[in-house]
């Protein structure tokens, strides 16, 4: 029975992980930018929700859309003013510049929020209910469902709406897209903004489940990578599936090996997937 | 054709097949290349010529079939080992080493080619200089490879392969985009190389060059070999004509 609970926890966690990776997979797949500051953006989103909850007494779930909007703006500006300048450069340079951004964002957060652990604890934080003998924490279930909804929304955007068509066109053939009247600078900026918004939502949910510090970025970035690679960059639902794989693997590892090995597990999974099934469907740089 | 053609062929291919996600690109092609001959390989676009060469050089693994080079099966060998055995090729989509000078580009061939190549940089560079002059690139010696124009890039590809001192040289459309004078020059160079004992497989669309170079010609269409023989025989074969021009209306 313990195993079933662990697996179930892994699934719920995996949904949130998938949401975290969604933004990174989108930006990587469309812009060919591997964003090392992705985890920092998750962290920022978390702090925005924290501030809204702590100081403006807004319910965290209601604060999520606000955080997403703010993060969209941040992402849009970052891409439009900064990243668009180096997009055609070697991949190493995008890795370096996003690393630089990661440093800047992390240390600004440290200056503003200090290194103290913060948590978002609404009054219903510990609520849970039982189903088939499994304990279902309310907040984690909500996080899982929100992750699914957002993944669905992203899928709908990319496949059903004109903006999504423009985004996909730009990712497949920049020149052709230009000829059809698409302005790549804006499309790129919007895409990055969407990625940031998704990261922000993930951050807000993360803050309700775990602690927030300015330094959580690095490990969340690494985790998002692994998930993006396992799930692939094309379909949002596959990314969620990737998140489930990692979530379940981590939960099982925590049960049998102890909690210190979670990073090693993600790394092991990553190497396994890359070596055994080299990504051919993923875009090579 | 030399008397050597009567002895064991330099390269034998049996039943080579390559499939790309359901599309049969090369379908059970078998052929042999005699020592020191020039074998022309022609066929319409998409016939599988480059894929065939890729399998011979090791860039692609065949789904079925085998390749024997000088009596040794090489089907499982990676490209660099085949280079050491003496197989060199040019790439249709040219791949110069952008950040290096023309001299060093060619020197790579001299350093790592047949038999493992030269061990000393100085000898390799001297050898590279010779090949650069041979292919007519002498004035670009120290230029960066990325600065070369189209025809010069073709010459660079050629020089790089030559510097490897190959026994078998696979040329993939080295004359594409050249004007008639340049084509004649290239034909001349190829004949000189053959005279030095190198065996060549030449993929070309320029029929005049094929006619004047090849001892024999192979024709590929939709991955299958549809004709083989002397240039005159092949180029007047109705099946070959149909492959290029479409069926004749009666």
């Amino acid at each position: 029975m313990v195993l079933a609970q662990i697996l179930f926890n892994g699934i719920l966690l995996g949904g949130l992980y998938g949401l975290m990776a969604l933004g990174m997979a989108l930006v990587w797949g469309v812009l060919n930018i591997v964003n090392l500051a992705h985890g920092a953006m998750i962290m920022l989103g978390g702090y925005i929700v924290f501030c809204l909850f702590q100081y403006a007494h807004v319910d965290p779930f209601a604060a999520l859309p606000i955080a997403m909007l703010v993060m969209f703006g941040v992402g849009f500006l970052l891409q439009y003013c900064l990243l668009n300048l180096i997009v055609r450069s070697a991949l190493l340079n995008t890795l370096l510049i996003t690393f630089g951004l990661d440093v800047v964002i992390t240390y600004m957060a440290q200056l503003i929020f200090t290194a103290d652990f913060r948590a978002i604890n609404p009054p219903y934080a510990g609520a849970n209910f039982s189903v088939f003998g499994l304990t279902v924490p309310l907040i984690r279930l909500a996080a899982f469902l929100i992750a699914l909804v957002l993944a669905g929304a992203l899928w709908a955007l990319l496949n059903l709406m004109p903006l999504g068509r423009a985004i996909r066109a730009t990712s497949q053939n920049l020149t052709a897209a230009r000829l059809y009247g698409v302005d790549p600078r804006s499309v790129y900026a919007i895409t990055f903004g969407i990625g940031a918004a998704l990261a922000g939502a993930a951050g807000g949910l993360y803050g309700m489940i775990s602690n927030l510090t300015p330094y959580i970025g690095a490990s969340l970035t690494a985790k998002s990578f692994v998930i993006a690679i396992i799930g692939g960059l094309n379909n949002p639902f596959n990314v969620i599936l990737g998140g489930l794989v990692v979530g379940i693997a981590e939960s099982l590892a925590a049960l049998y090996l102890g909690p210190t090995y979670t990073d090693a597990i993600s790394f092991g999974l990553l190497v396994l997937v890359l070596v055994v099934r080299p990504p051919r469907s993923l875009r090579a740089a | 054709m030399s008397e050597a053609a009567l002895s064991q062929p330099l390269l034998q291919a049996r039943g080579l097949t390559k499939r790309f996600q359901g599309l049969l690109s090369v379908n059970r092609v078998s052929f042999a290349i005699a020592e020191n001959e020039i074998l022309g390989l022609i066929g319409p676009n998409g016939a599988g010529k480059t894929t065939l060469v890729n399998m011979m050089s090791g860039t692609l693994k065949p789904n079925a079939g085998e390749i024997i080079f000088r009596g040794t099966p090489i089907t499982a060998l990676p490209p660099f080992r085949r280079a050491h055995l003496g197989i060199a090729r040019t790439f249709q989509v040219m791949k110069p080493f952008q950040g290096m000078s023309v001299l060093d580009n060619v020197a790579v061939g001299a350093l790592f080619g047949q038999g493992g190549g030269e061990k000393a940089m100085r000898q390799a560079r001297e050898s590279a200089r010779e090949w650069i002059t041979f292919t007519g690139l002498a004035r670009h010696l120290d230029a960066r490879a990325e600065a070369l124009g189209g025809p010069d890039r073709k010459r660079l590809e050629f020089a790089k392969a030559l510097a490897m001192r190959p026994k078998l040289l696979l040329l993939d459309e080295v004359m594409a985009g050249l004007n008639p004078v340049e084509i004649d020059e290239m034909v001349d160079l190829i004949k000189k190389i053959c005279a030095r004992g190198v065996t060549l497989l030449v993929i070309e669309h320029v029929m005049k060059a094929i006619r004047s170079l090849s001892d024999r010609v192979m024709v590929l269409r939709n991955g299958e070999m549809i004709a083989e023989g002397t240039p005159d025989d092949v180029l007047s074969d109705p099946r070959v004509i149909e492959a290029y021009l479409g069926a004749r209306r009666a």
Partner: protein, 315 residues
């Protein structure tokens, strides 16, 4: 790589070696850190700059060098030299074993795979009682900064000499060919796997010794400091800022960044790191090919050089 370059380099090396005679403790300590960092940047240059395989996990070799030395000296009472050797061997072994599967990955996948390497090794070590688990180990004290300084100078010189040899040798030509076009290089006879793995092993050697020297000098090692993730990116940035694939670029770049960081840190500590991040962002936009390239062009193009870089790389 002309004669006057070498003469200048030797003069600089001699000058660096002479610093302890100034009897300025702060300068010597800064020097040790700067020299070790320069070695890290230079050894990263072998795989990252020449071969074009960007690794974000080289600090794992630093950590192995640190722990190899520490465990040898603390648990087995072996002398420093032996400790260094053990640390280096451990790192090279790790490089060979991990390198074989991971170097099959190209471009960004290789970079990302190396990201997790550091964390995984840190987690493993922190569960090892022999390594002092999470508490770390305390090494015997030797109060002789000048000695460590000279060791660091010697290491940097050795590493730079190796890179200089690579740049002008058949070995280095293979590495550059792999970087420019690995498939074409293979078709021309370069055994890419052999060269890539050996480059990683060479890189790990110098990185590990730097770690070992630092361990003995600071007398304390623990998983967090030994497998410091910020080291990873600092060495990458220093090399790229200075000029990857050149002989002196990484050294110059790393010294300059070390000085900037030191100046900033003494004024305003956290903001120093912040400004470091800004420096990187600005550098990637305006001098993406590194300082070495800028210096090579500075005489001819002044400020247009920056604009050209942006125009080449922007959307």
């Amino acid at each position: 790589m002309r004669t006057w370059h070498i003469v200048l380099a030797l003069l600089v090396a001699a000058g660096l070696a002479a610093v302890p005679w100034l009897h300025n403790d702060v300068l010597i300590q800064f020097g040790i850190n700067a020299l070790l960092l320069a070695t890290l940047a230079q050894s990263w240059n072998i795989l990252g700059g020449f071969t074009g395989y960007v690794s974000f996990g080289n600090s794992v070799f630093y950590g192995l060098g640190t722990y190899g030395t520490a465990i040898a000296m603390v648990q087995y009472n072996l002398p420093f030299g032996v400790g260094l050797a053990i640390g280096a061997l451990a790192a090279m072994l790790c490089a060979a074993l991990v390198g074989l599967p991971i170097l099959r990955l190209r471009g960004p996948y290789f970079a990302i795979a190396t990201l997790g390497l550091n964390g995984a090794m840190a987690a493993l070590i922190s569960n090892l009682p022999l390594a002092g688990s999470n508490n770390g180990l305390v090494l015997p004290l030797t109060r002789n900064d000048a000695l460590f300084y000279e060791l660091a100078v010697a290491l940097l010189v050795a590493c730079t000499a190796t890179v200089w040899w690579i740049a002008s040798s058949r070995y280095g030509t293979a590495l550059v060919a792999i970087r420019e076009d690995e498939d074409a290089a293979g078709s021309m006879g370069v055994n890419a796997t052999l060269y890539k793995v050996s480059a990683l092993v060479l890189s790990s050697l110098f990185t590990a010794i730097a770690g070992g020297i630092h361990a003995y000098w600071s007398t304390f090692v623990d998983p967090a400091s030994a497998f410091d993730t910020t080291l990873n990116v600092r060495m990458v940035i220093m090399c790229v800022f200075g000029g990857p694939g050149t002989v002196f670029g990484p050294v110059i770049g790393s010294f300059i960044l070390s000085i900037i960081y030191e100046l900033l840190a003494s004024k305003i500590s956290t903001a120093a790191v912040l400004l470091f991040g800004i420096v990187i962002v600005v550098a990637v936009i305006f001098i993406p090919k590194g300082l070495a390239d800028w210096l090579a062009h500075a005489r001819t193009s002044n400020w247009r050089y920056f604009l050209r870089n942006i125009r080449e790389n922007r959307l």
